[in-house]
Amino acid sequence: MSLPGLPNLLALAALVAATALAPLSVGLLLGVDRRVTAAMQLRAGPPILQPWYDLTKLATKTSLPVDRLAASLLVAHVVLAAGAVALVLAGGDLIAAVLVMGAARVLFILAAGAVESPYAQLGASRELILLLISEPLLLLVAIAYGGVAGSFSAAAVAAAQAPVLTLPTLGLTLGVLLAIALRKSPFDLATSHHAHQELVKGSTTEMAGFWLALAEVGHWYETAFVLVLIALASLAAPLVGIGLVAATYTVAIVADNTLPRATWRSALWIGWGIGGTAAVIALVTGRLFGAGGL
């Protein structure tokens, strides 16, 4: 969101700080997520700060030699992903932000595919499918927001009052997107903290130490992006927003613990079936009852 009352330099500093803090808060969320999952499986979970420990450890490990092309792609991936989050935080254009995030993810896929390991390459091609599921959904969400606010700028969306019907359906789409961003499902794409998977770690198989930490940060930015989008809808009604996030998250984690994870084929259907339908409903209702036609 832009801060019009303050001098520009201060606003810029606030923006940088917010962008830097975004993934850290995602780390905290992931820590809670691991605790809750462990509790649901009747285990004692790790400390809440565990994702931070993991990240620090990875970043400070002795780096193994890594493919130079993959390394530069990874760096670019993180920069672009952070840029997309910053763009939304600065109140910029949502469509542009979604496209930048898409570009960031493409760079990650290229980085994963740049190495010779067949696991990484298969992982990369599945990551691409995941991108094909989530990117159109993100675009639909952005367009639905545009319908609500009459403008694609994040600042306008934050200020607009979303119609009652639009919020839950948008929440559903964003919930699906969150599940994908947290890599809960589909299982066989998952770069999740789950060792028993046929592609080992899929796209991150060949990454280690600092480079894995970079991939992890980029991944946290992706999650932060979805969370910021959720927050946008709820700025006008914070309680509704928090409730929506809590509800979708609960559904995701209960499903994760009572059902087997989806394969990428079923994820395609579920993602598009639920997320897509909900997004289209949100789009239509937002257009009809929102702040004004485009």
């Binding site: 499986q41 009747l42 285990r43 790790p46 620090t56 400070t60 002795t62």
Partner: protein, 179 residues
């Protein structure tokens, strides 16, 4: 009040010892130890409370848990897995077989303990050791992860050759009855 650099170093040390990612390697054992290792991740033992994650990728692991006697074909794979891991790293040999070949010592396709192939930091005795003992072994290896091996040697910290041998508990000592 410590400076930011010291604070950061303390945080790094803390992170490294609180995030042991496990690479499990079966070097020719009978499955007993391997299943007990997996068992440590289960609700009763909840290894994840120490930050333990079982990763399948040696490049991402911190502690190599080796089970079984060194099988001649697997020996090369073990060495390769060890070499792929980045410092700081530690090796925990789980079970009697990994220590010295166990009941299989002298069998035609067995080299002996895994100490022949990789520098073992902790030996966990037992056939198989209980999950508690395996966790104890992992925890004994945690201080070694604070610094890479070379740095440990330079500062006189635990050296690669200092081996922690968990003492068998009273109830684990098998007394052979005089027949």
């Amino acid at each position: 009040m410590r400076g930011p650099r010291a604070l950061w170093q303390a945080w790094v040390r803390r992170s490294r010892t609180k995030s042991p990612w496990i690479v499990h390697f079966d070097c020719g054992g009978c499955n007993g130890c391997d299943i007990e290792i997996l068992d440590t991740l289960m609700p009763r033992f909840s290894a994840e409370r120490f930050g333990v994650i079982n990763v399948g990728d040696p490049r991402q692991g911190d502690i190599l848990l080796v089970t079984g006697p060194a099988n001649l074909r697997n020996a090369a794979v073990l060495r390769s897995v060890y070499d792929q891991m980045a410092e700081p790293k530690a090796v925990v040999a789980v079970g009697s077989c990994a220590a010295h070949g166990g009941v299989f010592r002298g069998a035609p396709n067995i080299l002996g303990g895994v100490g022949e192939l990789v520098p073992v930091d902790v030996f966990v005795p037992g056939c198989p050791p209980t999950p508690e003992r395996i966790l104890e072994g992992v925890i004994a290896a945690l201080p070694l992860l604070a610094e890479p091996r070379t740095a440990r040697q330079a500062t006189g910290g635990p050296s690669p050759m200092s081996i922690v041998m968990l003492e068998p508990r009273e109830e684990e000592v098998v007394r052979v009855p005089a027949s």
